[in-house]
């Protein structure tokens, strides 16, 4: 090294130190930002998981149900029609009273009955309809506890608090403890949560209806926005003459991507419901609205990944006499597909989490039945989250978080599918 150069000596070393320090600082800022983001994410997920896990479990009480033929099948024919009209609620109440014969008075009895979910009678009815021969015998059946009783076993009821401040009376707590000490109460994985539709009773409410609704809605969205979006992108990128009109269309597509989603909901309300007379609350209309919303995203992502295909590939194909459609179909689209898929999945993920536009077209209705098709009334996962979060019963707090977990799982599954598809189609050039 020559002495006296500007790049040697004390001053140069000082400058170098300063640069290194700046670099270290910058790296620290980055690390801090990532740490902060991770912390926030962990807190968020942690809260949801801790709150939501109780929704996947529930308590059942085993009752000795005497299937009195006089109550369930007065005609004695064991015909399904007659059996279906039986007074199963009575049977459940009788079984409870048999356990606590000391309970007298209408009010006290009603409190006793309130420990068991109103779903118990439906479960029993189902069981009897499946096996009509059971009528006349006594069976032990595990039936769901009511949401308040369930919450008690989950530790959600403070027995020390003043009686007026809690949902369960002293007597009810005593009965529940008695049931528990008799070994009649058991904790179960709450499959009902995954196979039932919505209900006013938290212990009977399930996510399946909303999940199926989401599937139908997203199915319609995908079916519309993917082919339309890709076709539009291919046309705009590969065939459309560049000019004012194309520029105008491009600007509008970019603007549409930034339009608040509720506006699409209003549009759907005006066009699909009022003008076209499509059914209210239907996944078909929800899918149409979300497709409108997703379309710009799909078009923009597809265009940029089509644009990213090396022009050499196009020239090569053209140079050996591939027609424009063959150039696109055989070469450009396969190479652009991973990017198109990513964009589509991003759009679909946004559509999955969308609530506002669906409120406008009636998908916010309380729907108990699991939707059977694209025109059946339905709701979707985020709307279900919203509905449960809005419900007064305390047990819905857990259901809300449980629904969020299901929504997240759905999202992860979708993204996983995208990653798998990507790696299948990804080719290097």
């Amino acid at each position: 090294m020559t002495s006296g150069g500007v790049h040697s000596g004390e001053a140069a070393r000082r400058r170098l130190r300063k640069r290194h320090a700046a670099e270290r600082r910058f790296r620290l800022y980055g690390l801090a930002a990532i740490g902060l983001a991770l912390g926030a994410l962990v807190t968020l997920l942690g809260t949801v998981v801790v709150r939501g896990l109780p929704a996947f479990f529930g308590y059942e009480v085993t009752l000795d149900l005497h299937l009195d033929a006089a109550r369930l099948d007065p005609q004695g024919g064991r015909r399904p029609g007659d059996l279906g009209r039986g007074d199963y609620g009575r049977v459940v109440k009788d079984a409870l009273r048999a356990l606590f014969p000391e309970v007298k008075g209408r009010r006290e009895r009603r409190r006793l009955h309130a420990l068991v979910s109103s779903g118990a009678a439906f479960d029993l009815r189902e069981r009897v309809l499946a096996e009509p021969d059971l009528v006349g015998s006594t069976i032990a059946l595990a039936v769901p506890l009511s949401d308040d009783a369930d919450l008690f076993f989950k530790g959600g009821v403070d027995a020390e608090a003043a009686e007026a401040d809690r949902r369960l009376s002293d007597a009810q707590i005593t009965w529940l403890r008695a049931l528990q000490s008799e070994g009649r109460v058991a904790r179960r994985f709450w499959t009902r949560f995954f196979r039932a539709g919505d209900s006013r009773e938290p212990e009977l409410a399930g996510i399946w209806g909303a999940l199926v609704g989401s599937l139908w809605t997203l199915g319609v969205t995908l079916l519309l926005s993917f082919p339309l979006g890709v076709a539009a992108a291919v046309y705009l990128e590969e065939f459309a003459p560049k000019g004012r009109l194309t520029d105008f269309i491009e600007v509008n597509i970019n603007n549409l991507a930034a339009v608040p989603s509720i506006v699409f909901g209003l549009l759907g309300l005006a066009v699909f419901l009022n003008l076209s007379g499509l059914p209210r609350s239907a996944p078909l209309v929800g899918g149409l609205v979300l497709a409108l919303m997703t379309l710009p995203t799909v078009i923009i992502a597809s265009r940029s990944s089509i644009m990213a295909v090396p022009p050499g590939i196009r020239e090569a194909a053209m140079g050996i006499g591939a027609s424009p459609i063959q150039v696109v179909g055989h070469h450009v689209l396969p190479l652009a597909l991973p990017g198109i898929l990513t964009g589509t999945i991003l759009g679909m993920a946004r559509a999955l989490g969308e609530t506002a536009p669906l409120l406008m077209i009636g998908m916010v209705a309380f729907i108990v039945d699991v939707p059977t098709g694209p025109t059946a009334p339905a709701t979707v996962l985020p709307v279900q989250v919203y509905l449960w979060a809005d419900s007064p019963e305390r047990a819905f707090v857990a259901k809300t978080s449980g629904a969020i977990l299901v929504l997240l799982a759905f999202l992860v599954a979708m993204n996983l599918a995208a990653v798998l598809l990507r790696s299948r189609f990804e080719r290097r050039w």
Binding site: G312, A316, G319
Partner: protein, 265 residues
């Protein structure tokens, strides 16, 4: 079809493959070629030389109408392939490009297997029925491109995994697989090392027995080595064209002499 009369004295010696008469090309407002007249002779290698931006690539891309897809490009004048106007109403550019193949500056094999790369052209043009015939075409094309021996065991490997020189020969094999009459090469060796370049140059000499070759090159040594005829482009016009040996040793034009002696460009 429009027929253009061929210069009589030359067609006795060598049949003219492509005639160009009064070709003008504009990119938008900017004129890129000015009244170009040039004859390309059959089974010979014709070099197009000249400084960057002189229009030699533009001219090359006119021959298989690759300029059609460039927005704002306007072509006037006549180009005739075997006497048939390439801009004729009944000429489909897709069909034309099957007759006039092209090899590009940067090797651009498809991101598919070696076999697929070569078989693609014959397949879309319906030149083969069945796998056996395609195999035959692939083998012959790779042999003619001097690549078969090197890749015969990895026909199913990606074409993009070959070395640069092999990729370029794969592109040549791909071009000749559709049985063209003419092969256009746009600086085919500019991305290759000297050994790969020598390999391609040898290949051109072999290929000209079957095909008419037009090559754009920046290397005057290459032009001198591979071509029988050379055209010197400058500022969008053909300054001089003639037998390669004559043009390099005894050019008629002052500008040609300045360029080949390295005084500009």
């Amino acid at each position: 079809m429009t027929t253009i009369s061929r210069p009589a004295e030359r067609s006795q010696l060598y049949l003219t493959k492509i005639t160009t008469r009064d070709l003008n090309v504009w990119y938008g407002e900017k004129q890129a070629l000015f009244s170009v007249n040039l004859d390309i002779e059959r089974n010979r290698v014709t070099s197009l030389i000249g400084p960057s931006g002189c229009g030699k690539s533009t001219y090359l891309r006119c021959l298989n109408r690759m300029n059609d897809v460039i927005e704002g490009c306007r072509v006037e004048g006549k180009i005739a392939l075997d006497g048939d106007d390439v801009h004729g109403e009944d000429v489909d550019p897709v069909q034309l490009r099957a007759r006039v193949g092209m090899v590009f500056q940067k090797p651009n094999p498809f991101p598919k297997s070696v076999w697929e790369n070569v078989a693609y052209g014959p397949r879309i043009h319906g030149l083969a029925t069945g796998r056996a015939e395609l195999d035959e075409i692939v083998t012959t094309s790779l042999e003619r491109a001097g690549l078969f021996a090197e890749v015969k065991d990895r026909l199913d490997d990606p074409g993009t995994g070959l070395s640069g020189g092999q990729q370029q020969r794969l592109c040549i094999a791909r071009a000749i697989a559709v049985q063209p009459d003419v092969i256009l090469m746009d600086e085919p060796c500019s991305a290759l090392d000297p050994i790969a370049t020598a390999r391609i140059e040898e290949l051109m000499e072999e290929l000209r027995a079957r095909y008419t070759i037009v090559i754009v090159t920046h290397s005057m040594q290459q032009a001198a080595r591979v071509s029988q005829r050379t055209a010197f482009f400058h500022l969008g016009a053909v300054v001089e064209e003639g037998e390669t040996g004559k043009l390099f040793t005894d050019p008629r034009e002052e500008r040609t002499r300045d360029y080949i002696t390295g005084r500009f460009g």
